[in-house]
Symmetry: C2
Subunit: 459 residues, 2 copies
């Protein structure tokens, strides 16, 4: 009997058209939007369903290969980049919205569905999916990294939205992590464990998510502050007063400038909070009046409300395209985005520190972020052909991470560990990293699932 | 060298006063509020801190004993009952509120702190802890069972409130599961995994919890319906309309009667929703008007608002004491409470089914529950000296569970698995039960931590 190759075996268990060794396809699956150097996978597969993925897992085991789930490649820490010879699993053929369960405020989707695709469908029902990381990522990718974004201050992060996952494990078995009830005290919380596991424990093949009714009333606006500290203090006071902000984004001076250039807006070039409120009209008006009082005390001279839907959409487009604005403004350079999250009480000092670190560096660097959660980013453009710049950018990132850890924060608020934050896991988690390793060891003993990401098993 | 006994060793590593083999103490730690038969522990220990618990773990290992964490014994599925010779760990000496981090809306407590103790302290800061299971349970116990209760429809369950846990593992090592940031994508979600693990993966020694500002405006009331179905349909419609209800409790006719008798109220004896709303005054009034319209369409003839704080407190006291009202009305009998949770779209039918099952049984049985979450209870009093009644009660419970599982629900919405729901774990979780077993095996390979609860390792 002739032994078949890896590719032949994959073609046999899937179909020829679902398996590609084409150079373009492989190159496309070698990288994400991060600065981490690309590594080309041996082969790219395009599964249709859980059964296909189960077969891929079995073939991977038989041929001693690793698997690397790939959504749209919008990850920011190298999550999808192969670390050794292996199989890139592309979910683009698994992009069906399976069922909108309107009465339960649930939707069941395949992992390759994108955020905007989902919201377009949900709009027909007067519903929306709350998690908005800016990028039009896949739902599977957002679940794998526990994404969040602008509206998480009000509605929670990806982990809060998942009612059930269908998962294919390393051994090819297929299981569900949850059920359809709004709450449960039955068994260990596998939903929560798998969300944010970055493809290291299993592959998601179906996700059942909470959705919300589109709010009756939405108001967005911009509040301008004399300094970045004052803006941050205003957010902290507002949160503490219990005003339910739906989005609350800090954009510093250089970033407002970049946004104006890229998005053709004309916002005042000052530290600004981009804000949004959801609710019923009466309650919202009362909240807005209250908030205006609060932020006035922190030096806000002006809060400007967007007058129509188009202006509101423009505002969030400008915010969401900020990273692209930086990329666009620095052709040929690579982007590095820090992603720490600190306790709210530490936020004002942390951002002051961040500004100092940037000013002392060789980079321009803008600060922006979801300050209602204590999560902020420094966006840096660096020359990846210059060793000096690579090292300086890495040093800056490290300085920001160390500061966040020292004040009780985390090295990544929403981008995930991937390759870039691996080195901070021991410092951040201490003893609990051993528990994470034991879990990885128990579920993926041969470390075949996205190896070297998140936790790294000793050989 | 003389070998010391288990008790001597415990006395040595803790202190004499922290170790008791007194019959009364042991009897007190042999049971909870459930119908499960008591089993007496060999010894009861009263640790002061994590270090004490670490010592207890090491001694337990040395003497091949199991450990059974014990809060106040208010669990409803036998969670604290020893299943073999072992050590009951009583947390009553670990009842300090360590720190209120006002600006972060966080509080750090020891596990023996009770819910009312915590809220009394938080009130000084204008804050409150949202999870309210009715019973004045310990925070540690509530975390161990992933408790929820009346206000979870608005604020979420216990798992949603935990920012960080200090945990002592089976080997005596001490770790933290989280950090102080509002969100994180770093590492596996150990917070979520340990919450609801029922003492089977480790002992909590410190908990950092989210707290909320006391709402500006609170309105409570009772809405009376011609039938229980109509009441449930009204809840489903209200939720779907996006009205943010803070509490939403269904109490059926027999239960209103019991409440009136026990709590000296005079509520109309009809299927009733006990309701509460939190918000700013303007928003809340608009919500109330909207809700009144909705529930009128479902046959609600009257919604009566409580006019002052005393009447509001009375309302919730009556609801929370409902279980005790049943116990009080059936001296000598034991209580069994079902605890399924179903998808909201299935709730009306499920409660109709529950009523039929009760009517066909030999028991009276009241239905009450947190219907905003799809979680409802049948409260049954049965004679635990009668085999016939024991079997009939167990059969009824099973019928309710099987129904819930068949419609995508869970066998326990908030009470936990303990001893009583162990037998449904395979049916509910399918393949994922193997993953739970692997996790238990990885973290507690000798099955020393609350063995035979939640998952049961094969010998």
């Amino acid at each position: 009997m002739q032994m078949s190759t890896l590719v032949e075996s994959l073609q046999e268990s899937l179909s020829t058209s679902q398996v590609s060794t084409n150079d373009t396809a492989r190159e496309l699956h070698s990288k994400d939007e991060s600065y981490h150097p690309p590594v080309t996978p041996e082969v790219v597969v395009y599964p249709y369903d859980a059964q296909d993925i189960s077969e891929i897992m079995k073939t991977a085991k038989q041929f001693h290969r690793s698997v690397y789930p790939f959504g749209l490649g919008s990850s920011l820490e190298g999550h999808v980049i192969p670390t050794e010879d292996g199989i890139s699993i592309d979910f683009s053929e698994m992009n069906r919205i399976i069922e909108v369960k309107e009465q339960d405020l649930l939707v069941k989707v395949q992992p390759g569905v994108t955020r905007t695709q989902l919201n377009k469908e949900l709009k027909k029902y007067g519903l929306f999916f709350t998690v908005d990381p800016g990028a039009d990522a896949t739902i599977g990718g957002m679940a794998a990294t526990n994404a969040s974004g602008t509206s998480s201050v009000r509605y929670g992060i990806m982990r809060d939205q998942v009612r059930d996952l269908e998962v294919v494990l390393a051994d090819g078995s297929i299981m569900h992590t949850g059920n359809l009830a709004a709450k449960s005290s039955s068994g260990y919380n596998l939903n929560g464990l798998f969300i944010g596991s970055e493809g290291t424990l299993g592959c998601f093949t179906e996700l059942t998510l909470n959705v919300h009714g589109i709010p009756e009333h939405i108001v967005a606006g911009r509040a301008v502050f004399p300094t970045i500290d004052k803006a941050v203090e205003a957010v902290v006071s507002t949160l503490h007063a219990g005003v339910p902000i739906a989005r609350c984004e800090l954009v510093d001076e250089p970033s407002v400038k970049k946004a104006n250039e890229f998005s053709d807006t004309n916002y005042p070039i000052q530290p600004t909070l981009f804000l949004e409120f959801h609710g019923n009209e009466a309650g919202l008006n009362q909240d807005l009046e209250f908030m205006k009082e609060i932020i006035k005390d922190h030096g806000c001279k002006k809060i400007e409300f967007e007058q129509d839907n188009a202006a509101r959409n423009k505002l969030w487009e400008a915010r969401h395209n900020l990273a692209y604005a930086y990329v666009h403004g620095a052709p040929g350079k690579k982007m590095m985005v820090t992603d720490v999250c600190v306790p709210i009480s530490e936020l004002a000092e942390a951002i002051k520190h961040a500004r100092k670190v940037v000013d002392a560096s060789m980079f321009e660097g803008g600060i922006a972020g979801h300050v209602g959660d204590g999560n902020y980013h420094i966006i840096l453009m660096f020359d990846s052909s210059s060793n000096e710049e690579i090292q300086a950018a890495a040093k800056l990132n490290e300085e920001i991470v160390k500061y966040a850890l020292a004040v009780g924060g985390t090295c990544t608020g929403e981008h995930g560990v991937g390759l870039g934050k691996q080195k901070y896991q021991a410092e951040e988690h201490g003893e609990s990293l051993f528990v994470m390793e034991k879990i990885k060891q128990a579920l993926d003993p041969e470390s075949r699932l996205n190896p070297f990401k998140l936790v790294q098993l000793k050989e």
